[in-house]
Symmetry: none
Amino acid sequence: MNKLSTLTERQREILRFIYNEIKNSQLPPSLREIASHFGFASVGSVQDHLKALVQKGFIKISEKKSRAIEIIKENIFSIPIIGTVQAGLPTLAVENIDEYLNLDDLIFSNMDVFGLRVKGDSMINAGIMPLDLVIVRQQSVAEAGEIVVALQGEEATVKYLKKTNGQYFLEPANPKYHSIPLTSEFSIIGIVLTVIRKLGK
Amino acid sequence: MNKLSTLTERQREILRFIYNEIKNSQLPPSLREIASHFGFASVGSVQDHLKALVQKGFIKISEKKSRAIEIIKENIFSIPIIGTVQAGLPTLAVENIDEYLNLDDLIFSNMDVFGLRVKGDSMINAGIMPLDLVIVRQQSVAEAGEIVVALQGEEATVKYLKKTNGQYFLEPANPKYHSIPLTSEFSIIGIVLTVIRKLGK
DNA sequence: AATAATACTATACAGATGTACGGTATGTCA
DNA sequence: TGACATACCGTACATCTGTATAGTATTATT
């Protein structure tokens, strides 16, 4: 597996610059633009670095096309997830990787998606804490059992959608709060796809 | 606002092609690549269409830069995080975006980071549920209060690190379980940076 | 009927760009 | 020591690319 740590400091800087250019201006840089950014007097320097990045499996370059630097996402935008922990840590065994977290899918997704910062503790027993970030897919219909984002006036709440005797309820995951019948003053604006919580550092 | 309906059939085709190229290959097409795709024998045709698209406000072109076609619209490369929800949804107001979800800081950092699938419910009151994915920074030391990943044999557990009377404990966030003194049979392999839970879809 | 916008072809050119080759210097590793 | 990777400079060149200009034909618009 290609690890970012196999790159030199300089190579990582170049890769980061390319990534940022693509992300910010949606346009990969030309060789001379890279040279200019790093103060190189020669394009040959850039050629060397790109050659190394290609060889180490982090980028792909189409021949005879300008700016055709493609970042190989699988090698960069993923974090190895280990299924069983071995005693051999901190040397991560490649064989233990059983899936990859691809954050890029989320970022580059074409779904109508937005993030919402959670207020309050009404979903605490579902593992959704105050200040958590929930990624929401915009949709006006939902099924019972799903965690939905409902709008009442300008107030957005995250709740379970529940159905009892044909009646829909917004149900909190906290005994402190009560279920609320889903009346016309509410509108469902999406369902929760992902919960993200950033801790230390 | 600029409506897509002000475009002609052909102009809409061109715009869609440009959009798809950027989205799929992360590389805007050159004029001749556009011409080739539509079977134009001349670049002048493309020039005309791009000129119209610029004039109607759908794209922006940087002069003297190859492939520098930028689509003016929502930024497809990031997820807007809305602080307060307006009644106007599902049309996301740009003014409400107060921050962007940025996961690449984590990825591009020099830290040695891996993911771990959580087993068991011992941290359920800290909002860490079974099958959650925790992103862990590898390090052998931690401070009291941090959520750590400890290794006992080949078993990895996620717990709070607590200090009482100079003695360290691994403390679960679930009254069902007890605190465990941090003895030599345990080794701390990292601290939890992020908690991620994928739900629906 | 006149004008403008649309939709193309054709050609020319400066400069932007990728590519190739060679060179220097430094540090790393066996 | 020698081989090798890294990290730069310098130069040359074919071609890719944007830009400009000119022309033809069709369709809308006034």
